[in-house]
Symmetry: C2
Subunit: 451 residues, 2 copies
Amino acid sequence: MTSQDLNSLKVSRDRLLTDLHYTCQWGTGKRWGENTTDTGMRRLALSDTDKQARDWFVETTKAAGCTVTIDAMGNIFAVRPGKRSGPPTFAGSHLDTQPSGGRYDGILGVHAAVEMLHVLNENHIETEFPIGVVNWTNEEGARFPISMVSSGVWAGQIPLATAHDLVEVTPPRTETLSAALARIGYNGPTEVSHTAIPMAAHFELHIEQGPILESWNRKIGIVTAVQAYRWFTLDVRGRDAHTGTTPLSARADALLTAAKMILHSHRIATKLGCVASTGILTLEPGSTNTIPGHVRFSLDIRARNDGILDKAEEALRRDFAVIAAGEDVGGLNDGATPGKACQVEWRTDSVSSEIDFHPDCIKCVTESAEGVFGAQAKELTAEMVSGAGHDSVYTSKVCPTSMIFIPCKNGVSHNPEEYSTPEDCALGAQVLLGAVLRYDRLRAEKAGREY
Amino acid sequence: MTSQDLNSLKVSRDRLLTDLHYTCQWGTGKRWGENTTDTGMRRLALSDTDKQARDWFVETTKAAGCTVTIDAMGNIFAVRPGKRSGPPTFAGSHLDTQPSGGRYDGILGVHAAVEMLHVLNENHIETEFPIGVVNWTNEEGARFPISMVSSGVWAGQIPLATAHDLVEVTPPRTETLSAALARIGYNGPTEVSHTAIPMAAHFELHIEQGPILESWNRKIGIVTAVQAYRWFTLDVRGRDAHTGTTPLSARADALLTAAKMILHSHRIATKLGCVASTGILTLEPGSTNTIPGHVRFSLDIRARNDGILDKAEEALRRDFAVIAAGEDVGGLNDGATPGKACQVEWRTDSVSSEIDFHPDCIKCVTESAEGVFGAQAKELTAEMVSGAGHDSVYTSKVCPTSMIFIPCKNGVSHNPEEYSTPEDCALGAQVLLGAVLRYDRLRAEKAGREY
């Protein structure tokens, strides 16, 4: 196929969106608007509704001529044969959602890949190598508390037993991941491994989940990298005391101390040009008239590279110790009453280094976007760094990978109101299709040179 | 009786502490030390263990010659006859505890009053008027969420129906207060009213629950007043957003905003010489990688008088609105990234004005302490203001009232490690006994003059 031929292949916006909203009947969430599809999603990994969406995926890809393989993490790989054998070039994402998620995060990436199969079939395209579509299990980490766990096992980065033994963190909090797989019949026989199920490349279309494309007025984000992040749990321990009878000077107030730390982490992030966020905070004992003796909070710091994160972590570890001791950092204690010291402990939950995507994949996405937008490509696309983690982070460790972003309204995600326009969804699917086919052609050219 | 005679009556330290620890077999809580009695208490109001303690109270006071009356809030009034009839002079407190409470808060006040009965009996004392011992229901507000609710109904300050309809806030969160009363058989037939069950006066011995007596090296606090307090619930609403994909400038971070407010409330309290505390904080949605869109927190402000509280509330309402709008107050935004505005809403949960105790009662406590300490009284006692609310706040609205405090270790209360020495417990009970008998004599003198 020539580039011209590639540009003539068109995804069907209507089919893409009709199918996407059809599968969102399984796990429909909170309503936010008047249209039929104005709802969020609650489709927890390996739930009954996730099974229904998976069954649709298996039936649809089989009907599209694919061979379907399910591995022992429930990852589903659908492969459409090419002219010759070899590892398929994959596109995909995940069908599970946050408890209070939307219709696009992950779901769009799977549906765009399925739409790719339909376009290939209706145009009777025979690709050089096989083409695959993948649905990864429990990407969100919302039910079983490791994000991207199944691509992590596949890439050899997370032990299978660790993943299988995860216990759901959503009520009733009793089922393990392996039990949930068995219950819905998705405990496949195939080894979870990038050697057992190799990929030539992995492409993932995703909503941006942030406000950048929207604010820049761009239609397509060419994702070149994923920022580094580290997750910590902080425990601040002071002493429970009665709010009415304990003078400010006699307090070891764990919440006041944590409040200073949270504000300070924001200041450090501002200074170093990274982001710091606290999304979870719990305290004990939890009574209006008792000063909390114990506060636990999450700290999520992210930066373009590990060097910046090293600096941020170092500054925060140093300054939190000073704040806990009751001493001043940056004027936090201005106008405050000196109190008693608290203790602070750090636990590192997750460390993810910066990821650079593969130049060949980035090139295919860029050329595909040029094919879609023509002379307007420069104005309508932008290279960008992903702020969030995705299954593509793990695939990038063992095969060439890159991602494509489309704008989402107000940058909102992990929220029922998450929304991307049908136009933007279709543009994203169109760029995905072109990128996968260009990569397939690139492999053939390289193979031609090599053999 | 002469003052000399009064001073010759001695409480039994051993009996007092033996009885107190005996009843602490019902609802024993967390162990913190090696001695048998080194545990906290978890005796929620109207629970099965509270019933066992109540049964002991009824049997013991009946055996001590009292007539026992139970009202429709489960308050228990035990009355020992005097030479003549008339409203009894009461001593008492409460037998319920916090979920993670100690062995002294409330419990000591009831046991000291029961010990008073034993001393009167073994010395064959006939008082001028009847003497009463009272156990108030659900003082803590820890199970049914209004503190001091039953003295509040008795004093005509809280409607009976409001109290009866309270639903437990501890698991399983299903039972109403009236159902709990019926279940344990303490739904008494007597009207809950200070006219149906009048008191000539109310004296309450209590642990200080703060560090002041300990730091001043005083044995007895002569409580002259209770500080004013106000409880609020604050809702801060921003927008849920992904921590990795949302630049600091695009965030409406409800937790960062709440952290600024909590720090600022501490600064305002420092400036105005009052206290401000946050004991409860919850957030949504509660995920490491999601910026919280909603934070709810309690705010408890207390001051010596309503005027100071007025100023504090006014300043906080004004400044919280500014903080929510993202603007600076007092340098909080130094080095911070300007973000999007949040909304803040206030709900007033509780307002309690300053309370001055009755001069006659204060005088009886002072003279009793002088009887106990002799020439050392000035060094070993101190007039003080209660920082916490007590049933005595409500009784003071309808009858002469005052309180006696003893030190507690490190000022710790509402904690399993709450502790007062046997010596201090006995000294407190001794001062209580003397105060009640002096008040009884004072009434007789006044009656003699009047009639």
